[in-house]
């Protein structure tokens, strides 16, 4: 089958790992970590082969990267033409994501060998990791919209299981529930969106769907734009609903509330799921359906503004948080906001497609430096046994490798050349500059904020004060350091990979203009922000507190995360439960069931009133009998004439 039949093994190997460790976890115990890692190493190798084969050997026909379907089986047929197919599709975006997911997952698998050592549920942990990797790979390779949804739900549930891994901690349980329910709520939108798209597009296969809808005069396109509900066309509804699903998974405002809480999970999990792979699924989804999205300007506007608002909001909140993982979580949200708005401002072909390319580029580089940051955070937490920045300080001598890695990753995310983040962020800013000026300025401001809060974190953890810890153990095993170093190399080098010639919206090479003059402003501003952070946080000082109190209620609002959590809690606790749930239960108990009991009661009352006739006295029965006869006799003789 067109030379890609081996692709099926990429998701199947982790699935095999999941089944093995799920069933025999108790007997495998510590070996399960190695088994999981080795199986995933196999997948990673295959994914490299696939990407190489695709990008360098047979992906390109006439200078355009085409979509290759490696494998299709009809999984569930709904009606002629509409079915869920399990297919594996490789195109530039999925090839890139394939590599990212496999690689980061492998790093996390290796890191966890050291980090999770001694856990009683070690095998379970690796089983869940494998399940997640399988689902994520399935999502990446999916060629059918419903298949995307299926794996979408599966990554959701593996995320749920992993966040709740420390299940005896009530906070972890609450966080896992929150993550699942919030994303489920968004998935509702996705599901209804799929129903709308499938009905009008007459297919669930993404390529066919695009083919059916993207031609401006096609019957499907016309029927979809003319049909509507509440004054909004079916196309807009469908895309908006699908975007809600994507926004939920990618923690976009206002559905982002689950992401910071999700940090209750083990730190390597945060690195894998809540930084590099699952949370970018929303971006990936929009990218896969990009030709359809670009048909509708209003939806693209929604995508843009959701992205930029999330980016700004998250950056503001990140400046005020003190939990190291929460800062990273908000920075993730902010960076995903970047990717999202870059998609929103992108055009659908040629040079207009810069935003699309930049978004994918940022997705690619972000995966490396963000997972590096999280893994470093893992080492730090492992060392300090606390998540709170205020418990840290002066760790640079105790954790030299981590220190270097963290510093480089911070530089990368702040967009300082020559690290990976610089290149991708510049592309995004450039695209924004050309497409939409207000968005550009907000993005620029966000970039500056990013530099500030990342270095606030860096200085607080590694400088700030003398270490309050006596080093009981070192930085950790080799298995923990090795992934850091590999990811460090990626962070340094990933920016030089010519994504522009591979991953573009129309498959053609995009000529990029690296414009040094344009880059001056962001880089200089970011450097200033870094210097400010250095001045405030390198040594213990009271300037930050003074600044905070000077801002007063504004600071309070931001540090309370704009009270969005409280708003949700208000809606669920004070509106949904008392005004919908409780009445429903009450009505059922008292009105519906009351009617049933009432009927039974009335019947009972009626029988009560006639039961005295049934006295048990033979003679009264005989009396009734004879009177009956007599009555009948009278009726027949005198009345029945």
């Amino acid at each position: 089958m067109n030379g890609y039949a081996y692709l099926i093994w990429i998701p199947l190997l982790p699935l095999l790992g999941f089944v093995l460790m799920g069933l025999f976890g108790r007997t495998l115990r510590n070996a399960s970590g190695m088994i999981g890692t080795l199986l995933l190493a196999g997948s990673t190798l295959l994914s490299f082969v696939a990407a190489y084969q695709y990008f360098f050997s047979d992906g390109k026909v006439n200078d355009v990267y085409r979509k290759i379907t490696a494998f299709t089986i009809t999984w569930l047929q709904f009606s002629p033409g509409v079915s869920i197919d399990m297919s594996l599709v490789i195109d530039p975006v999925s090839a890139m994501m394939l590599v990212v997911v496999c690689f980061v997952s492998l790093m996390v698998h290796v890191f966890s060998l050291g980090y999770m050592k001694g856990e009683t549920r070690f095998a379970t942990y690796y089983a869940y990791l494998s399940l997640f990797t399988f689902s994520m790979l399935g999502l990446v390779l999916a060629g059918n919209l419903f298949q995307v949804y299926i794996f979408w739900e599966l990554v959701g549930v593996s995320s749920f299981l992993l966040i709740g891994f420390y299940y005896d901690r009530p906070s972890a349980v609450a966080a896992s529930k929150k993550a699942f329910i919030v994303t489920r709520f968004a998935d509702l939108g996705f599901l209804v969106g799929i129903l709308v798209m499938a009905f009008y597009g007459q297919s669930l296969d993404i390529a066919t769907l695009i083919g059916n809808l993207a031609a401006p005069q096609s019957a499907a396109y016309l029927s979809m734009t003319t049909a509507g509900f509440m004054g909004i066309s079916a196309l807009t509804w469908g895309l908006l609903l699908i975007f809600i699903g994507g926004a939920g998974k990618s923690a976009m405002f206002p559905l982002h509330i689950w992401l910071p809480d999700a940090m209750e999970g083990p730190t390597p999990v945060s690195a894998l799921i809540h930084a590099a792979t699952m949370v970018v699924a929303g971006v990936y989804l929009v990218a896969r359906l990009f030709p359809v999205f670009s048909l509708d300007v209003s939806v693209m506007q929604v995508v843009t503004w959701t992205g930029i608002v999330s980016a700004l909001l998250a950056a503001l909140i990140a400046c005020t948080q003190t939990d190291i993982k929460r800062v990273l979580a908000y920075s993730t949200m902010s960076q995903i906001g970047y990717m999202m708005f870059a998609l929103g401002i992108s055009g659908s072909g040629g040079e207009d497609g810069l935003g699309f390319m930049a978004s994918m580029f940022h997705l690619f580089t972000h995966a490396f430096f963000k997972s590096l940051l999280f893994l470093c955070a893992g080492v730090i937490i492992h060392f300090v046994h606390s998540n709170d920045m205020r418990d840290m300080g002066g760790l640079r001598k105790l954790l030299p490798v981590t220190h270097v890695c963290f510093l480089v990753a911070c530089l990368a995310i702040s967009g300082i050349p020559p690290f990976a983040g610089f290149f991708s962020k510049e592309e995004i800013l450039l695209a924004a500059y050309h497409a939409n000026k207000p968005v550009y300025f907000i993005a620029l401001f966000t970039a500056v904020l990013t530099a500030f809060y990342m270095f606030r974190l860096y200085f607080s953890v590694f400088w700030h004060k003398e270490p309050g810890h006596s080093p009981t153990h070192g930085e950790g095993a080799l298995s923990m350091k090795l992934p850091l170093i590999v990811l460090l190399l990626c962070t340094v080098l990933a920016g030089f990979i010519p994504i522009a010639s591979w991953v573009t919206v129309d498959g053609k090479t995009l000529a990029t203009h690296m414009n040094p003059g344009f880059s001056v402003a962001p880089v200089v501003l970011s450097t200033l922000a870094i210097l400010l952070a250095m001045r405030w946080y390198k040594k213990t000082s009271d300037t930050p507190d003074a600044a905070a109190s000077a801002l007063g209620p504004a600071f309070q609002t931001v540090s309370k995360k704009f009270y969005i959590d409280e708003a949700y809690l208000f809606v669920t606790r004070k509106i949904v439960f008392p005004f919908i749930g409780r009445p429903a239960a009450w009505i059922d108990r008292h009105i519906v069931d009351g009617a049933v009991n009432g009927i039974a009661g009335i019947t009972g009352k009626l029988s009560q009133s006639v039961r005295a006739w049934q006295s048990g006295k033979v003679q009264s029965y005989a009396l009734y009998f004879f009177s009956g006869i007599a009555l009948l006799a009278i009726v027949f003789i005198y009345l029945w004439k």
């Binding site: 419903f146 949804y149 794996f151 739900e153 529930k177 509702l188 599901l191 129903l195 519906v592």
Partner: protein, 493 residues
Amino acid sequence: MNLSLLVLLPVCTFLVLLLLQARFARQVALTGAVLQLLVCGYLLWQYLAVRDLGNTAPMLFETDQVWYAPLQIHYHTGVDGIAVAMILLTALIVLTGILVSWTIDKWQKEFFLLLLLLSAGAYGFFISLDLFTMFFFLEVAVIPKFLLIGIWGSGRKEYSAMKLALMLMAGSALVFVGLLGLYFGAGSFDMMTIAKTTLSQTSQSYIFIFLFSGFGIFAAMFPFHTWVPDGHASAPTAASMFLAGISMKLGGYGCLRVAVFLLPQAAHQYAWAIILLAAIAIIYGAFATMMQTDLKYINAYSSVSHCGFVLLGIGMLTETSVNGAVLQMISHGLMTALFFAAIGMIYSRTHTRMVASLGGLLKAMPFISTVFVIAGLCSLGLPGLSGFVAEMTVFMGAWQNPDTWYRVATVLACASIVVTAVYILRAAGKTIMGPLPENYAGLPDATWNEKTAAVLLVAAIVLMGVAPFLVTQLVHPGVENMMRQVDKLVTLN
């Protein structure tokens, strides 16, 4: 293959059990149940073999014998794919139900006798093509439930048993009136004959109300669902499994096979009412579930919500949605049986079903907790498990009906998947996760019989979830036949 074997086998087991001493009761019952499953497996194999040969008759393995000539009551049996699927489901539930009741200590023999009687009724119902025979078996399947709950139940068992029996009897009465209407309208009790005659619109619409609401009571249609929570909550584990896995399916199957198939025009006429009631049941059942504190009540109310999908699928009257309704019946049967089995296992150890007093069971009983979580995930429609396949087919099918208000109902039904997630995760989060109370620390995990039962059900759920094409391939031709009939009669007028 002779379908009567399906009825004869439980009856024979019943007789053997009756004659033997009580201490062999469970072995005999188990052997009988295993044999049932084997016979059903053989039926499936034969069915597929015959279909593969290109036999496209609507019903296979038909036999027709006069039972009572003056009223033209025949013992007429035959199966299509839908019936075969239901029969397999029944066999699986019977086997697992007997396995989880292995350690029941009160009147063991009588308990298994009643279970076997119930299964005989269910098989007879699914194979009948004669309405009177069908009704006869329906009644056979009702009575044992009363005794099962009344004798072996817990809590307000007399009240619940009486309520369940009376409501189901009321359902039967309505069904019987409907059957008489059909008999006098079409001059026969035979389903295949009635299907060929077209009744007038007026008589159809009267008969339909009786038949659909009668079977609807069995299928927990809103507002006739209140027997479900009380009945399930009071019933012993196996009886809960039978109730949810078999009894409620009798209703759904009846609604589809008798009401919709025989009265297609009336079905179209009342589609709006069915959809309205189904949508209410789905949403309202889900919200009512959210407020429950007893695990059995949670599952019982969620059954109301899930059975709403069956009725929604039937009400939408598209081929895909009816297909989904059938899938949902199978899926709900498996899933709820598994859920009740898990709850029963937890209850037998902790002696409480209140969510608030449980916690952290994953530590004490990992196997049971895992089963519980799998059942929960299936209930909230996780892909890879059966619930997802069924619900999505219903949604897709429902959306094909282009009426805007029906679509609003569909969206509301979709919204229930969020509420489902809320109540399932709340229940699982409180009972399975969290800190383990000290008094539950040393409790034992599942025994062999419980493990076998759980593994069988989980395997079925996963098989259906991973390879739905196996099930649709069985069910779809039956649905297609039925819908062709329905559409033909409708377009005629």
